[in-house]
């Protein structure tokens, strides 16, 4: 970008188009680099909240400088350097410039601004980004706070973008993020990857935060849309990022696989009138084949690590069975039954049991499946869950017990919170022969 200078030597103000171009370029850089910038700054200042504030200040500085001076060669390093100088200025103002800070300040001043590479070493940064991921999903934070903070500091999303994704007011998200930062500071959470004894639980927390974000787009809990692919795409990007940072963690690779399989069906999950289309009625030729292949590659990577399949691995394997089957009938239901059995042993849950019953119905017929569903009903853990009477009704239809089936379908219709689903259940009940 070249600019005329006037007689006084001042740079002429950039026009609106320049400012707009800069804003877009900066947004792109921010999306690519924000996790690395905030991670590097957190290591520097020791506090994730302060690091994020400093990074935001550096962004404002970029908005002032880049339109006239052009986008620097290494914009991430530029932003980090500016933010670090801000931090040092802050320390100086507070007259706390002890020898440690003085040394840092000298180091920084010796580097000629940008891209000296010394504080932009990819390996160190990767480790710092991983620490950032674990801090954002730290157990001292509520689930909601973990989700908001992960999207903000790891994903680089603005409060407005997060609010749009979760259909809540911007102020709510801002509040969550401010509180989350304060909680982390109050708990003095170290900027570290967890110790081996905590590692599995902490990794589980990271992965479930990512999966919850994905499901917000795939199975929205609220709102009018049945799917919101942008939210899921962001979760998938973050999951790929985490899997890239932890190439030896089978569950991280498996989560990517699971998301890829689910996302491959996005285009076919909603009818034109907005109603959901169940798996067996989806138009399989429109499933995204390339995405399914990426899912299979991710699952194969997980398997190659050689530590067996855990919860996400088994769920991904089930999703793979569906993804590669030419039709609902020609699905390897026997294998799905086995996978659900294994999943039920690793992570016992009545919902998994119900899904297993559906697979059993497809593999060996409705009678044996009905016995499983009856056990679940007696057990009472799924009381009030609409899928239980819906599945039971479906099995009774197939067994020709239409009178009982009608009752179950109507119960399911009463229990569901989704209007579209209610209409479909009632229509099915009404269509049964009297």
């Amino acid at each position: 970008m070249s600019h005329e200078t006037d007689a006084s030597g001042a740079v002429a103000p950039a026009d609106d188009a320049d400012a707009d171009r800069t804003r877009r370029a900066l947004a792109a850089v921010w999306r690519i680099e924000s996790a690395r910038i905030v991670a590097t700054l957190t290591r520097f200042v020791g506090d994730v909240g302060q690091a994020e504030d400093l990074a935001q200040e550096a962004m404002l500085e970029a908005m002032r400088q880049w339109p006239t001076e052009g986008v620097p060669n290494n914009p991430g390093a530029w932003l980090t350097a500016v933010a670090k100088r801000r931090a040092i200025d802050g320390w100086r103002r507070r007259e706390r410039l002890d020898e440690r800070y003085a040394a840092m300040a000298r180091d920084l001043e010796q580097q000629d601004g940008e891209a000296s590479g010394q504080f932009w070493d990819p390996d160190t940064i990767d480790d710092d980004v991983l620490r950032l991921v674990f801090v954002a999903c730290h157990p001292v934070l509520s689930r909601e706070a973990q989700i908001a903070l992960t999207l903000r500091i790891v994903g680089g999303l603005s409060s407005e973008e997060i609010a749009r994704a979760f259909l809540v007011p911007v102020a709510t998200i801002q509040q969550r993020i401010v509180r989350a930062k304060k909680t982390l500071a109050a708990a003095n959470v170290p900027f570290e990857v967890p110790e081996p004894q905590e590692y599995p639980a902490r990794l589980g927390s990271v992965l479930s935060v990512l999966y919850l974000i994905f499901n917000e787009g795939y199975l929205p809990a609220s709102g009018e849309q049945w799917v919101r692919p942008d939210v899921s795409a962001e979760a998938l990007r973050l999951a790929r990022m985490v899997a890239g940072l932890m190439p030896r963690e089978p569950e991280a690779q498996s989560l990517v696989a699971l998301m890829e399989f689910h996302a491959s069906r996005f285009a076919t999950r909603v009818a034109r009138d907005g109603s959901p289309i169940p798996l067996d009625e989806q138009e399989r030729s429109r499933w995204d084949r390339a995405q399914i292949e990426r899912g299979r590659a991710a699952l194969a990577r997980a398997d190659r690590i050689g530590r067996g399949r855990a919860s996400y691995g088994l769920q991904a394997a089930i999703a793979e069975c569906h993804a590669i089957a030419p039709s609902a009938e020609d699905t390897d239901w026997a294998r799905i039954v086995l996978l659900y059995e294994a999943l039920g042993r690793i992570a016992p849950s009545p919902v998994v049991e119900l899904n297993r019953a559906v697979a059993v119905a497809m593999a060996t017929g409705p009678a044996s499946a009905l016995r499983l569903v009856d056990d679940l009903e007696r057990d009472g853990k799924l009381a009030g869950y609409p899928a239980l009477p819906a599945v039971r009704g479906e099995l009774l239809v197939r067994l020709g017990r239409t009178q009982e089936a009608r009752g179950e379908l109507e119960t399911a219709a009463r229990l569901t919170g989704n209007e579209r689903e209610r209409a479909a259940l009632l229509a099915k009940a009404a269509a049964l022969p009297r």
């Binding site: 792109a28 690519i32 790929r240 990022m241 890239g244 030729s285 390339a290 030419p326």
Partner: protein, 140 residues
């Protein structure tokens, strides 16, 4: 949105490339690919074998004419691609700029059509879906 980064180089650039330490080139590309993977944006990427192993099918004539490479008329050769998933055109540009290529090389960056780019009611789109189903039926 998805973008394809299409790598093109002049023959001179490819010749010049041969004088550069091959390991250095591989290493620089490896680092670039890794940065794409760790950012969670890489969907696919391949490098193409030399033109002498390829051929061209030219539809100027009926039936089409098959010509073996290398092709004298081509000034720039297509020799590899990446597919990335990003949130904006600018983000695609930012990634493209980071590719370790030198003078004589270009990256053409093209957005990949998504399903919604096609009219779903179009008779041919519907027919294609049908064909695919039939093909899959046969493959069973």
């Amino acid at each position: 949105m998805k973008y394809m980064l299409i790598m093109r180089s002049t023959e001179e650039a490819q010749e010049a490339f041969k004088d550069v330490d091959f390991n250095e080139v591989i290493e620089a590309m490896g680092r670039y690919n890794e940065s794409l993977i760790k950012a969670g944006v890489l969907l696919a990427g391949e490098g193409l074998a030399g033109v002498e192993e390829g051929f061209v099918v030219d539809f100027d004539a009926t039936p089409p004419v098959v010509t073996d490479g290398p092709y004298a008329e081509a000034k720039e050769l297509f020799n590899g691609f990446w597919i990335i998933e990003v949130s904006s055109k600018e983000e695609a540009a930012e990634w493209a700029k980071r590719c370790p290529l030198g003078p004589g090389s270009k990256l053409e960056v093209r957005r990949i059509n998504e399903l919604e780019d096609f009219p779903q009611d179009n008779e041919w789109i519907q027919k294609e879906a049908q064909w695919r189903e039939e093909l899959e039926g046969k493959a069973r």
